[in-house]
């Protein structure tokens, strides 16, 4: 069993346990009598303490012990769960996460800062322990060497290094074992701080048998491994070798014993220990003085007993075996999951993208040859490629629940901070979306959630005065809709004040006083950059601060954001994001000689222009079965030259609640599209989301429907007075 592996398992398990602990702590406030939850919290602390002990992580054991003691009292009904206690426990949980992360980073022993924090939090926890536990506390908090009994000869040495003395037996080499390989293996368990190789025991040349081993090593070793593991290194040579392993901070008497046991003379051994950095000069002096009975009493039996207890490792051994078993069971349960580097997935998806482009090329060639067999085989291949694409993309899909659950904590902390009582309701947690999107959505969501709590939900008094329940509700919801995922952040707070926004927008020059805006348009003004000033914070009670940043982040993900509000009742911010960023099903349309791709998920239907032209459309809006449908000519929008086709088609696309018709010359059918980003030069062109390469090698631009819709509206308004002349042109 490789220790590094075991330590990683410990870290991974601890993270998981701490996550569970945090979740349980967050839930327990609502149901303080839920024994299941209390037990879950206790178990987490208990398991971490136990495992940390196996690895000799004393500082984690010490800290967790205090938390565990408090939890034990809770479990026994001696303490009641209440807000302050949960807060202290949560900060303990956080601190444990910090300790574990520190360990994971391989930074060795905790820094003074962390130790200070441990003490501070432990002190808070101690307040809950009452007087009977005070002595416990003293024990657990001394991570520094205990100095009290130095004069009795039982003092500990200063260093935190293991000391290992090895004298290999004569026959080790003959038995086919190489002492050096043991040292090499040992170095995988930790850091060999210093090693001293003893060559002096090699007998004179004549007597020396080159096949016998005469080597010895004195090693000071820095490691988080437990004694059983280190002993395990030398398992195969235990029989015929002299092996002494002293744990860190062993009693000086232990070293004394070691010195006495080693075949070399005392002073020399002492010198070796000194050189290894295991002992300091003062400690060595004290030890030697002690051994010569020089003014100090001989080690007392009690001390001996303690020393023996420290040396005996059978419980450690047992625990280690138990742990191994546990790990094994855990492993087999985890065997169905593989952790894969995200970069590898990206590479796979890139390759699938290239495969799709290459496949489209093959299809085209097959069609040109008209060979029926070839056509059939390419059709099969296309279908398979499509399936490969779907499963490749699914690999990157993760549930949004993980992200949502993080907000439990945010909501709890912020509501404490603000002195408001707010409950978070999560729904649609199982909705899946691309990992890259999930990663990037965290910050905007945090912003929106904080905003809602800070400025949306009113204080309890105001709420009661308005006839609402004192407890505010914040909802996070997610669902799939038309090829995108919708994430809603809603609160039942005060809503937005329309008039104030209008005044502000006019003042900022964002709109004209004469503009006639719908409610929705007014609310969405807060996403404009002009609204994110400090001044606005007071005037609009902070709503809209940084909202432009939120919108920018979401736009960067090819998503959109909008806001709904009922004054005095609620506010809902709706984020709409594409499911993936890499490959989509596209709908190919032709305008003149150019080809464009419209995301298929957004296409609702296609109709022929003639069908509605006669029905009395006025050139900007058409009558779609009685529905008013604005439309946009791609030919005009992209300034494609040439005569319009005689029979134009309209592709009806939907984004969110809006529908728009796009007038094109030809409909070319479905096409799997690998989205390639446009270069920086084209960054500012709205209405185009990227490009793709067709089977023929031609480039087709991908239409960014939401962008186009936004632009279309503006254009229509700007061109309002020119409508007549435009129609004349057509």
């Amino acid at each position: 069993m490789n220790l590094d592996e075991a330590l990683h398992t410990f870290i991974a398990e601890s993270r998981e346990l701490l996550q569970n602990m945090e979740d349980a702590l967050l839930r327990i406030e609502q149901s303080p009598d839920d024994e299941e939850l209390i037990n879950a919290i206790f178990r987490a602390a208990h398991t971490i303490k136990g495992s940390a002990g196996l690895f000799g992580l004393d500082y984690i054991v010490a800290f967790t012990h205090v938390a565990e003691s408090v939890l034990d009292r809770v479990r026994n009904g001696e303490l009641r769960i209440e807000g302050d206690l949960v807060a202290v426990l949560l900060s303990s949980c956080d601190h444990l996460v910090e300790l574990i992360e520190h360990l994971a980073a391989g930074s060795g022993d905790p820094t003074a800062e962390i130790q200070e924090k441990s003490k501070a939090i432990a002190a808070c926890l101690n307040d809950y322990l009452g007087s009977d536990a005070a002595k416990n506390t003293n024990v657990v908090l001394t991570t520094e060497p205990n100095q009290t009994c130095t004069s009795e000869g039982g003092g500990e040495v200063e260093t935190d290094l293991w000391h290992i003395s090895l004298r290999f037996g004569k026959d080790v080499l003959r038995n086919g074992m190489d002492p050096l390989s043991f040292i090499r293996y040992l170095s995988t368990l930790g850091d060999i701080h210093h090693i001293f190789t003893l060559l002096n025991n090699i007998p004179p040349a004549v007597e020396m048998d080159p096949e016998s081993c005469y080597l010895g090593f004195e090693i000071s070793f820095k490691s988080n491994a437990d004694k059983a593991t280190i002993e395990g290194v030398f398992e195969f040579v235990r029989e015929d070798c002299m092996i002494r392993i002293l744990p860190p901070r062993s009693k000086i008497t232990d070293y004394l014993k070691l010195i006495a046991e080693l075949p070399e003379e005392e002073l020399r051994v002492g010198e070796m220990l000194l050189r290894c950095g295991t002992l300091t000069q003062a400690e060595l002096d004290a030890a030697l003085r002690l051994q010569h009975g020089d003014g100090t009493a001989a080690p007392r039996p009690l001390g001996e007993v303690l020393v023996e207890a420290q040396m005996v490792s059978s419980p450690v051994m047992e625990a280690a075996l138990d742990k191994q078993k546990q790990v094994k069971e855990h492993k087999s349960a985890e065997a169905n999951l593989i952790r894969v580097d995200a970069d590898k997935l990206d590479e796979l998806i890139n390759l699938v993208g290239e495969l799709i482009i290459a496949g489209a090329g093959t299809n085209l060639i097959a069609q040109r040859t008209g060979d029926a067999d070839l056509l059939e085989s390419t059709a099969t291949m296309s279908r398979l490629v499509e399936e490969v694409r779907d499963s490749a993309l699914k690999l990157r899909m993760v549930q949004i629940g993980g992200t949502f659950n993080r907000f439990q904590r945010v909501v709890r902390d912020v509501s404490k901070e603000l002195g408001k009582d707010i409950e978070l309701v999560i729904s649609g947690a199982e909705t899946e979306l691309d990992k890259t999107v999930v990663e990037k959505i965290g910050d905007p969501l945090t912003h929106l959630v904080r905003n809602s709590m800070d400025h949306g939900i009113e204080s309890a008094e105001t709420r009661l005065a308005h006839g609402k329940p004192a407890k505010g509700t914040l909802k996070l919801n997610a669902f799939h809709d038309a090829g995108s995922i919708v994430i809603e952040v809603s609160d039942d707070g005060g809503g937005l004040n329309k008039q104030r926004i209008l005044n502000k927008a006019i003042e900022r020059g964002l709109i004209n006083e004469t503009d006639n805006l719908s409610d929705k348009e007014i609310y969405n003004l807060i996403f404009e950059a002009g609204f994110s000033t400090a001044e606005t914070v007071s005037n609009l009670s902070g709503r809209g601060v940084g909202m432009d940043v939120v919108r920018r982040n979401i736009t960067a993900l090819r998503g959109t954001v909008n806001l709904d509000s009922v004054e005095g009742r609620s506010t809902t911010v709706r984020i709409r994001l594409p499911l993936t960023l890499a490959i989509i099903d596209g709908f190919l349309v032709g305008v003149g000689t150019s080809v464009y791709v419209i995301p298929l998920d957004m296409v609702v239907e296609c109709i022929e222009r003639a069908a509605w032209e006669n029905a009395g459309g006025d050139g900007r809006y058409i009558n779609l079965r009685g529905e008013v449908l604005p439309y946009l000519r791609l030919r005009e929008h992209f300034e494609v030259e040439g005569e319009p086709a005689r029979r134009e088609n309209v592709v009806v696309v939907r984004h969110g609640e809006r529908k728009v018709g796009l007038v094109v010359d030809r409909l070319l059918g479905e096409f799997q599209t690998v989205i390639k980003p446009l270069g920086k030069v084209f960054n500012r062109i709205s209405g185009i989301g990227g490009f793709t390469i067709l089977g023929s090698g031609e480039v087709a631009l991908i239409i960014d429907v939401p962008g186009l819709m936004g632009q279309g509206v503006v254009e229509m308004e700007r061109n309002g007075q020119n409508a007549e002349s435009m129609r004349a042109l057509n």
Binding site: L180, L199, A205, E211, L215
Partner: protein, 105 residues
């Protein structure tokens, strides 16, 4: 393992080629000790040592001690990577501290 011995002006140049391990230790001990017997100065070229174990290490230590006992200057030269790794592991670069030069890879 091959041990090449060349005597030049009283300097014994010993070149070791191959593995310095338990398998060849007995033979190596004889060869090395006899080579050392009739010269004034010894130079051990370790450039071609492909592997060394504890038995090899003991031999090096033995040669070093013998040379010192007989007041014959001894140089270890051109340490191979295997030797350097071993010296590093055992912290013995100081003991076999003749010029440790990284042999051209």
């Amino acid at each position: 393992m091959n041990i090449n011995i060349a005597n030049e002006d009283g300097i014994c140049r010993i070149g070791i080629d191959g593995e310095m391990t338990i398998y060849s230790a007995t033979q190596a001990k004889e060869s090395l000790l006899s080579a050392m017997a009739d010269c004034n100065e010894i130079e051990m070229n370790l450039a071609h040592v492909s592997e060394i174990d504890a038995a090899g290490l003991q031999l090096l230590a033995l040669v070093k001690r013998e040379a010192a006992d007989r007041n014959k200057p001894l140089h270890f030269i051109a340490h191979s990577q295997a030797i350097l790794d071993m010296l590093d592991l055992c912290n013995l670069a100081g003991v076999f501290g003749d010029p440790v030069v990284l042999s051209p890879a």
